[in-house]
């Protein structure tokens, strides 16, 4: 169960807004500071650990860059969107960011309301309005990776990558 205050974003939020090109090879800490720099300056100072992003259609379109990791590092507990770009979703799985497609979610939340997410039955509830929405289920194998800290720890355990302690 995840519950957090909602920030709303519109359709087609792209990876370059989340992780700008000139920060591509910066440190994770620097990348975190640049999240939504162009479209929502100052947001990284307002967001709190455990907050939730509610997006529209095609969230995360664009690059293979680890934009999901930047959102996770900014404190975002979950991304709930009408639809999510497949590549962004893969990175969410692999960097341990909860990302769910939830039809109707954009209209169901006003910024500042609280979203309560259940990964048992893939439901999303608006605590204030009590509206309950059904998310598209995530296959168990991917959910295990997403909640287990992502792919790198898994590859480390198999002896395929050199362990890097504390770096998910």
């Amino acid at each position: 169960m995840v519950s957090g205050a909602v920030w709303t974003f519109d359709d087609n939020i792209n990876t370059d807004l989340i992780l700008p090109g000139d920060m591509l090879f910066a440190t994770e800490a620097e990348q975190r500071r640049a999240v939504f720099r162009a479209n929502r300056p100052g947001w990284v100072d307002e967001v709190h650990q455990g907050d939730v992003i509610v997006g529209g259609l095609n969230f995360g379109m664009g690059s293979s860059r680890p934009a999901a990791r930047s959102l996770r590092n900014a404190g975002v507990a979950a991304v709930l969107a009408e639809s999510i770009n497949g590549l962004f979703f893969r990175n969410a799985v692999n960097f341990g960011l909860i990302a769910l497609e939830v039809p109707g979610v954009h209209a169901a939340f006003v910024e500042g309301q609280t979203a309560i997410v259940s990964l048992e039955d893939f439901t999303v509830r608006n605590r204030e309005s009590n509206i309950v929405l059904q998310a598209r289920p995530i296959p168990q194998m991917l959910l295990d990776l997403m909640l287990g800290g992502g792919l790198y720890p898994h590859l480390e355990r198999k002896g395929l990558l050199e362990p890097r302690l504390g770096v998910p």
């Binding site: 370059d16 000139d22 259609l57 095609n58 664009g62 293979s64 590549l87 296959p139 991917l142 395929l160």
Partner: protein, 416 residues
């Protein structure tokens, strides 16, 4: 019910008789492509074992030749990696280097009916070769390299039947701008291209369209395998393969006909290509400071030929930087032999070595505050090519070349 191209490729690669939309598959990966960015200090993880070095291709493309010390350090690391694991297909700075998807095309590494992944979103470019090619993040790339496998969620497939033939001055990029402008994004969907119009669409044109599938947010953008494709591949790669064409009763979530004769030159307005295309005439008052032709989408020999045709005997307008970046060094050489480079440079273009360069605002053509650029590359997101206040219009190589001459956005037919 039959299978689409992508479902048939997945069925083979996951050792199943049947795969359908809604399934999740774990597949054998035929080729994994690593880039210089895969070895950058802030991205890389030390790989202890690779599944099969013969299934790995390494291409340096994003920061090439190394423009700074961090990039150079990554290049050194990658060279050691390639040596340690015996990667034979290593395209370092030199005559066989280029943008990864373009090198893969030059060499026909993406075989029809096969599965290819790479740590770059425009990997769908190789869909032109009837290949299930997908961009993945660095973790999935390392997963494929070390385990030989990856997973895909199987989406619905939209089928585009191409009919007719493009008119002179209209190109594959305009077809893409039409699709993006008319149908918008294809999130979670596969795109399949086929139909009689394919016969008039060369491999390079198909590559442009397939590459831009990433901008439609498609899972895969895959072309049918016709004789042109089979001949192209067999001339470059002797490895046997099994092309996959759709079953006659394949299930599509939608089937749309695209009349190539009806296409016209279009421009995407800044910040997104999704439902953002207008006829060139609508933005002709826009003055530009930079015009760019390049990237994995528009750095082909055909693109350079088209640019040279438009600028021949003319001069780039004062105040405009006209940058042309061939997709690979091989294309650069071919363009030299064909005289395109001479024509472009006489007109005042700056022709750069093959690199991603300006396409992602990396180097060699980064935009400053408040500038306006018209680009024949892949992406026009805010801040993509440099300063976030710069405006990026996207169009075909012909339109970009014509605009470089005019100093403002213009239809190439008007300066002809």
């Amino acid at each position: 019910m039959g299978m689409t191209i992508i479902e048939k490729i997945f069925a083979r690669a996951s050792h199943q008789a049947k795969v359908a939309a809604g399934d999740m598959v774990v597949v054998d990966v035929d080729v994994s492509v690593m880039l210089d960015s895969s070895f950058h200090a802030n991205h890389r993880r030390r790989i202890l074992k690779v599944h099969d070095p013969e299934k790995i291709v390494v291409v340096y493309d994003h920061m090439v030749p190394a423009p700074d010390r961090m990039s150079a350090e990554g290049h050194v690391y990658g060279r050691a990696f390639a040596k340690q694991f015996g990667i034979r297909r290593f395209h370092d700075v030199g005559p066989d280097q280029g943008i990864s998807h373009a090198v893969v095309a030059d060499r026909a590494y993406a075989l029809p009916g096969s599965v290819l992944v790479c740590g770059d979103s425009h990997t769908c470019a190789s869909g032109a070769f009837n290949c299930a090619a997908r961009g993945v993040g660095q973790p999935d790339l390392l997963g494929a390299i070390t385990t030989g496998k990856t997973w895909f969620k199987v989406g619905d497939t939209v089928r585009y039947d191409l009919v007719g033939q493009l008119r002179p001055g209209v190109s594959a990029k305009d077809v893409f701008l039409y699709l993006a402008g008319t149908y918008g994004h294809h999130t979670n969907q596969n795109i399949e291209f086929g139909g009689p119009g394919l016969a008039h669409l060369g491999i390079n044109a198909r590559r442009t369209i397939a590459t831009m599938g990433a901008e439609l947010s498609a899972e895969f953008a895959t072309f049918e395998a016709d004789q042109t494709l089979l001949d192209y591949v067999r001339a470059r790669n002797s490895t046997p393969f099994e092309a996959q064409n759709p079953d006659p009763d394949a299930r599509y979530v939608d089937r749309r006909t695209v009349d190539l004769d009806a296409m016209e030159p279009l421009v995407a307005l800044p910040d997104t290509v999704i439902r953002n295309s207008v006829p060139v005439g609508d933005v002709e008052q826009e003055t530009i400071q930079q015009a760019f032709i390049g990237s994995c989408a528009n750095g082909t020999l055909d693109d350079l030929a088209e640019a040279a045709r438009v600028v021949k005997g003319r001069k780039v307008a004062p105040g405009v930087r006209f940058l042309v970046t061939p997709g690979t060094q091989q294309v650069f050489q071919q363009a030299l032999v064909a005289g395109y480079v001479q024509t472009l440079m006489e007109a005042g273009a700056v022709v750069t070595p093959a690199t991603c360069g300006a396409c992602f605002g990396g180097h060699m053509g980064v935009l400053g505050a408040g500038e306006t650029c018209i680009t024949a590359s892949t992406r026009n997101f805010k801040g993509r090519m440099g300063d976030p206040t710069a405006r990026i219009f996207m169009a075909s190589p012909a339109t970009v070349a014509a605009s470089a001459i005019a100093g403002h956005i213009v239809n190439s037919a008007k300066i002809g």
